[in-house]
Symmetry: C2
Subunit: 389 residues, 2 copies
């Protein structure tokens, strides 16, 4: 159970022919009665914004932060498609709106797949009504929707947080940013908690900033990234902190599933930076380490070469003193005050071979902290990404 678990939502997933063969490629998440409810969304910061992102942003603005449905297609990103692309994305919303019985502005649109191709609209003209007809509650419907947005994902990604008298459910796709040629991280969350659009937007942004935005595989930012949430209000008003906590937990769970499903990876790693002059500096430094091809190669080879960590911290552009930094693998300090520290190398070797590695760096300058999640870089990543056909 995921997006259909909170009261007031239905979902579906169908195959409409965007992808070759019988693979599902169109998902719909909608309110039970077709009425718009408070909604919020966070979009990619990439300026090569895909048409569905442009359209969704405009719809959310015009509807005053309300939506009755999210329609999502996979196999084609509808990105770098100009005016034709915007017309096609709007048409997808229109078709969904006709089906569920809401205004076109009350539909959000997401697409994921290859960049630079026009959507095959005859597929959508038939597919969206089929998805509307299939809308249902229950576990199967959630799973069908989650499956229909998969591209290079090997597993459907679903989450449910049920605590404090309300629920937050979610589906997502994305092998992190591992394969953004197939584009994109998409997530749709639903909740039966009641929240005003402004509060929902603020809480979603906060939840995303400490979950999806802390997940780094290759540092690429997709043209189509979207995280949307709809709040039916059926469970009544809830404490804002509780809602933030549940939203964050749902996003975090989906982000972890993405990292674990990144193709070709053999392990994930948490990079923690402390002792920075600010939390922002800590985050910039942690991202620099996490995005480093060389660090990712070391992770692949289980090599505890802390010199690369120190080098990336020094290259991050944040306050840094080479004589104050320390580095630890799995809690074992290997570098102290900028130089090699005596340590139990067997313990470090064991830790580096585990499926989850923890690398901590203390800059020794202040109280700023941050943590990001990354993966190793494997030959399979290259095999996966060297061609789009």
């Amino acid at each position: 159970m995921s997006v259909t678990a909170p009261a007031g939502f239905r979902a579906s997933g169908v195959a409409c022919g965007i992808k070759a063969g019988p693979r599902a490629d169109l998902a719909l998440v909608a309110t039970e009665d077709g009425r718009a409810v408070p909604a919020a969304a966070v979009f990619t910061t990439n300026k090569a914004t895909a048409a569905p992102v442009q359209v969704s942003r405009a719809h959310l603005h015009r509807s005053g932060g309300r939506a009755a449905a999210v329609v999502l297609s996979s196999g084609n990103a509808n990105a770098a498609t100009g005016e034709v692309g915007r017309r096609d994305a709007t048409r997808m919303a229109e078709l969904a709106a006709e089906g569920v019985g809401c205004a076109t502005d009350e539909v959000l649109v997401c697409s994921t797949g290859l960049i630079g191709y026009y959507l095959p609209m005859p597929c959508l003209e038939k597919g969206v009504p089929a998805a509307v007809a299939d809308l249902a509650g229950g576990e199967e419907a959630s799973l069908a929707a989650a499956r229909a947005i998969m591209t290079t994902d090997t597993r459907a990604k679903l989450t449910l947080v049920d605590r404090g008298g309300f629920r937050v459910g979610g589906i997502a796709k994305g092998a992190a940013m591992l394969a953004p040629d197939m584009a994109t991280m998409l997530a749709v969350l639903t909740t039966d908690a009641s929240a005003e659009p402004e509060a929902l937007q603020r809480l979603l942004r906060q939840a995303v900033s400490v979950s999806f935005n802390r997940l780094i595989v290759d540092g690429c930012t997709s043209t189509n990234d979207t995280v949307a949430v709809l709040a039916s209000g059926r469970a009544g008003r809830v404490d804002e902190d509780s809602l933030l906590q549940s939203l964050t937990e749902a996003c975090h769970d989906l982000a972890e599933q993405m990292a674990a499903d990144a193709e070709g990876i053999t392990r994930t790693a948490v990079i923690r930076v402390s002792g920075a002059t600010s939390d922002h500096h800590a985050l910039v430094a942690a991202r620099r380490v996490a995005e480093s091809q060389l660090v990712q190669c070391s992770l692949h080879g289980s090599d505890p070469y802390w010199g690369r960590i120190v080098s990336e911290l020094g290259a991050a552009g944040v306050d840094f003193d080479p004589d104050r930094v320390s580095v630890a693998y799995g809690g074992v300090t290997v570098c102290r005050a900028g130089v090699a520290a005596e340590h139990d190398s067997d313990a470090v070797a064991r830790h580096m071979s585990a499926p989850r590695v923890e690398i901590s760096a203390d800059l020794g300058l202040g109280s700023g902290t941050a943590a990001v999640l990354t993966t190793d870089l494997s030959p399979e990543y290259i095999a996966e990404n060297q061609g789009t056909s």
Copy 2:
């Protein structure tokens, strides 16, 4: 002929035992008579600055921009070595100074290799005098010096520009930034042109900014990067523009040799960005494309997937309009006004299979331009970098 071709210089390269076996690992470039001449250097911007960089910077400052020798060791970066490392680097300079007959402050020091290990000083105590004893003019001496600074390089890198009545010679090491676990890009240039230290510093910085600084393999910035130049003045005063041109050509030639020698690469690529709102914006955008793991994977697979180029341009943080960008491979436009353009796909496929690929993007916004040089990303890169042992 390279560093010994300009009048007034000698060079040598010996094996002193830093590297295992009989491999050369210590190089010396010095003025013929041991007298200091105008010198300049450009160092890494990485704040995890290695000891030799700290020492060389201080020496150049104290000597008022004059040097009589550059001593370079390979196999150990003397980075993340704290106070001990600074003492060791200073001792290397002192040993060289005693040998060639100059002040310690008149020696620049470079090291390249693994980070986090103290230099084996007994090797240097014997090695530097041996390198001094071997100092000689002629081609063999240049080549010995170039070989002694190699780490993962497969070929020695030498250059000579002989034009306008003066010469600029150079040696370098570095498989670009492809293997900074073995650390670093190092280059030593010599010229018999006469130039004041201030002018030399300014011209070197300009030459580096359009050559080495435009070469991107993995976006990593080493702790030890150094480019140094010594000017003997034996050829007399020359026009500043001529000197800049020769320095730039020498640096550019060495940078191209590095790109071509990057392990595991199958091709190099020039990324040109035009139509940006400023040259700076163009450079930031070109670097973003060049550093992209996904673009590098496409290059490896000869895949003309321009969606990735557009996506990276949009993510570069510079002024960008998705409806105005165009992209060309080898002069064939594949994307115009932000959408797919009809084109000769056979011609593009042929170009993408060549050892040198040209990718041009026009942002359609202004007159800013820039070009950078990059390589593909291959499974061999990962094999090379997954372990340091």
